[in-house]
Amino acid sequence: MSNLDGTPTLAATSPLVKGEIRPGCAKVDPIVIADNVTRQFGGLKAVDVAHLEIPRGQITALIGPNGAGKTTMFNLLTGFDKPNTGTWEFDGKSLAGVPAFKVARAGMVRTFQLTKSLGRLSVLQNMLLGATGQKGEGLFRSLIKPLWRKQEEENTARADDLLARFKLDAKREDYAASLSGGQRKLLEMARALMSKPELIMLDEPMAGVNPALTQSLLGHIKNLKSDGTTVLFVEHDMHMVMHISDWVVVMAEGRVVAEGPPESVMKDPAVIDAYLGAHHDTDLGDLMEDGPNPVIEAERKAHDAHPEADEAGYGEEK
């Protein structure tokens, strides 16, 4: 780690990290360890990650300019795309070459940048599809309702509980296609939670969501952490990244160029270099000044308005 002016400083450390903080550093308790993952699209090396570890039980943000390979990395880790080289393990189990549905069953569940709600199924049916280990999903057992009725009732109760938490309970019987873009984001996240994942990977959870709804999504992501779920998310909204993440991984041109706690990673010259093209007129360091942080401001206002709500400021979109 070095200062903005490039002079070396004392090695930075963090309670999450073994030894010195640097790109690809080893974590004290990693949930995902990836090695030498590359993915080539023709002449373009979209992902070229030598080593990456995701800390367990924390909220990790994966940021980087457009085309940095963040979503491709997501696709590779979750089995939706095949890498040219590389191995990675999740919770000690190797997941390289494992098909996407088995990755999800292992407890690593993702959402998509372009939401994939199942339009002509009701919101409740969308939720129930997320439950794992359903007896009624076997071809022959599905024909005999008594074999799966009880499990279905339990899953429905859990789905209703999650829908209430995500303020979608009023939409329970509506087709998912009738939801707004932001509500679909919420539904997709709630559906992913039906499977009780160890690690949830959110691909741009805030894209296209209005600012009021952003507040409630932030609350949900923080709640996930307090429930013991590890969160890895891709996001372009720097305020959100600074506000909720415990750890930030920065990718550029397929590589991990920097990592660190959100307070310090933005000062890393590699990060500033990476963003110069796209954000040359934004001083990323600005976010760290003592000036008002719009996210915190909005959250505080919302909390003042509804002090009884434990998650600040639900903004419901109609």
Partner: protein, 325 residues
Amino acid sequence: MDWGNILGNAVGEIISPTTAAYALAAIGLGVHFGYTGLLNFGQAAFLLIGAYGFAIPTLAGAPLVVAVLCAIACSVIFAFILGIPTLRLRADYLAIVTIAAAEVVRYIVTTTGLTDFTGAANGLSGFKGTFAAINPIPAGTYGFGPFTYNEYDWWIRIVGWVLVALASVLVFLLMRSPWGRVVKGIREDEDAVRSLGKNVYSYKMQALVIGGGLGSIAGIIFILPRAVQPANYTTGLTFFIWTIMLLGGAATIFGPIVGSMIFWVVLSLTQGILYGAIESGALPFVSTTQAGQIRFILVGVALMLLVIFRPQGIFGNKKELSFSV
């Protein structure tokens, strides 16, 4: 024009074994397209395989049960042959492969090299013995008005419609279950279903096998009142089945049944009226051969009007289709 005869023939189509066979085939196609979203443009091939898979063993002396199981087994194998290479790909690939495969199997059974087995272009006949032998109805003529048939004709109708009912119950039970929810999810977006830990490939294969199996049973019912004729299994047959399914509503239980009834009643009515008009000299510029073709032009026009003005079919849910997917 003999209106009594025309109407009688048309009404008779409601319970004809051909109507039952088309309904069964449309139920199978509904499992493919309506519920799972598989674009199967080769349902005729499953009927063909059912027909030959039943007729060839029967003519070789196999008992009825063995012949039926053989037909179903052949359709399962055929479904695997179609599905293994294509179900991992996008939906359109299955459409291309099924339409080509249906033509391939039709040409195979028509080749003269296989005349000893398939009868080549002449097809097969004389396989009704084992089915007629288990007919519990005593010889004679039964029924009233347009529904007057001999014991064999009644036996085919009863068996055909019982099979339609059983297939409908099967589809109903499957589609109300979590299994049905998974395949409907696949229809909407298979990547989303994959991301929730479901083995999409396996579910698509199961749906392909079930729908194809229903198609092969339809193929057996279809040949019991007639002979096996390879010319019956052109892509035209596939598109009639599609018409029936869309007419009734693709993802519905009663849609394929009512769709098949309407399809055959309308075909019979238009034929009766056109032929009657030609005989009475009302249409001097049309021959009876041309009238046969005009019926199918009308079917085409009806299908176009249907998908434009009532895309959800008779039983379909308007709300389901009001969203662009």
